[in-house]
């Protein structure tokens, strides 16, 4: 097909630029997600503190992060901060902006992941003499992780897609680079179709992985099976 031929003909020119841009997109995604994890855990931690003012700040932050477009936050950081003397690179602005927004989403994932564990689990652990820290580490966290794996992965994929927004603050990631190539080559359909395929190649396997994780979760825990009668007898004889 003529379409594919055109792409192949230009590939030598486009490939290096697009690969570099792709790496930048991935770097943005990873940096943004790591920072978002930190923000998310912090927010969830602060939301459980007893001081009402701290809880309020955390909740306001989440509400704002969920109600304002990422683009606005990126503009505020990249264009707005310099007036106050704080100048950040485009990449840093992109990372921080993405992390601020996704930190709020992830805090919700953490809250749900921990909240879905039956209350009795924690009570049984405390009643057995475990400290709160041990309870969290040995009882709550392992169970919570199982429930959080899929939503965390979904957010990662979403963040990968949203990393494209950083194109609008001139981060040389995939979407911006493909736009630049379009202006030079006048082949918008080919370039953007190729770019779309590249994103798809990254995002789709990940979303398949999500479905796999969800399916295995639905099958129920195989490690925490009911102890059989023999084991019960052994325990009773101790």
């Amino acid at each position: 097909m003529q379409f594919l031929e055109t792409i192949l003909a230009n590939l030598a020119d486009w490939a290096p630029r697009l690969s570099e841009a792709l790496v930048t997109s991935l770097a943005l995604t990873c940096a943004g997600f790591s920072l978002a994890l930190v923000f998310g855990l912090s927010i969830e931690y602060f939301r459980n503190r007893s001081a009402a003012s701290i809880r309020l700040i955390a909740n306001v932050y989440v509400a704002v992060a969920r109600g304002v477009p990422i683009l606005v936050i990126l503009y505020l950081i990249y264009f707005g901060l310099p007036a106050s003397g704080i100048v950040v690179s485009a990449f840093a602005a992109g990372t921080i902006g993405l992390a601020l927004v996704y930190g709020a989403y992830l805090s919700e994932v953490f809250r749900a992941g921990l909240g879905v564990i039956p209350r009795g689990q924690r009570e049984a652990a405390l009643a057995a003499g475990l400290t709160p820290a041990q309870t969290f580490r040995l009882v709550m966290l392992p169970q919570a992780i199982r429930h959080m794996l899929a939503p965390l992965l979904v957010n990662l994929i979403s963040l990968l897609k949203d990393s494209s927004i950083c194109a609008l603050i001139a981060v040389p990631e995939l979407t911006l680079t493909s736009r630049a190539i379009m202006s030079e080559s006048f082949l918008p359909l080919h370039v953007f179709a190729l770019t779309a395929c590249l994103y798809f190649a990254m995002a789709w396997p990940a979303s398949l992985a999500v479905r796999l994780v969800e399916r295995r979760l639905a099958r129920g825990p195989t490690r925490w099976r009911q102890p059989d009668a023999e084991a019960n007898l052994l325990v009773q004889s101790i």
């Binding site: 477009p69 505020l76 918008p188 359909l189 994103y199 979303s207």
Partner: protein, 215 residues
């Protein structure tokens, strides 16, 4: 910051807000139409090919960034001779991606309707299409409302991207005003507040829907 400048900023943002609302409503309508139609077909069709084709559409659109897709429609189609206006490309692009998202929402909603409901419908002699229309669809729609509300809020935020294809919505106008006035923090801060207001209204609207449809 004098009064005249403030008025200009407010004017720019409000006229942008109107376009934001237009694009949001247009894309929402398109997304609902596509999503509901596909979910209905998917529920009733027995040919595996149908489900497969729908799946291909959904997977393709859900794994591509909105911005990239908007560029593809706005610039890419122009190269083929189909020159879409900014608004048309905006609504079409966000609407098509939304259709894929809404499809998954409705599909999950229909599957969440308890199996006994469709069994009872079959037991009285309703054919599958009638059973879907009278029993599954009404209940599935109610179950789908909360995630639909989330989608709608996300859609309003995504309209900020259509500034990149020259649609005169909030961020497009905001950028122009900043270029003239250099009141960066004020303008973008005001834009943020505007979006907060819009997303809050949309969120509340869906909460009201849910409450009205409660049984």
């Amino acid at each position: 910051m004098n009064n005249a400048m403030m008025n200009r900023i407010v004017d720019a943002l409000l006229s942008g807000a109107i376009v934001t609302i237009e694009v949001s409503l247009g894309a929402l309508a398109l997304a609902m139409a596509i999503g509901l139609t596909l979910a209905t077909i998917d529920n009733l069709a027995r040919a595996r090919a149908t489900a497969f084709v729908i799946r291909v559409y959904v997977e393709a659109l859900r794994n591509v960034p909105s911005l990239t897709f908007l560029f593809l429609l706005y610039f890419g189609l122009a190269a083929l001779g189909l020159r879409l206006s900014s608004l048309t490309a905006a609504i079409a692009g966000l609407g098509m991606i939304g259709g894929a998202v809404v499809f998954d929402i409705f599909r999950a909603g229909f599957q969440s309707v308890p199996k006994g409901q469709s069994e009872a419908a079959a037991a009285i002699g309703l054919k599958p299409l009638a059973a879907f229309r009278l029993v599954i669809l009404p209940q599935g729609l109610r179950l789908a409302l909360p995630p639909l509300g989330n989608y709608a809020v996300g859609l309003v935020k995504d309209t900020s991207l259509v500034a990149a294809i020259a649609a005169p919505e909030v961020m497009f106008n905001a950028r122009q005003i900043v270029n003239e006035t250099f009141a960066t923090a004020w303008v973008y801060g005001a834009a943020a507040l505007l979006y907060l207001a819009l997303t809050f209204i949309v969120g509340q609207a869906f909460v009201l829907f849910e409450r009205r449809l409660e049984y």
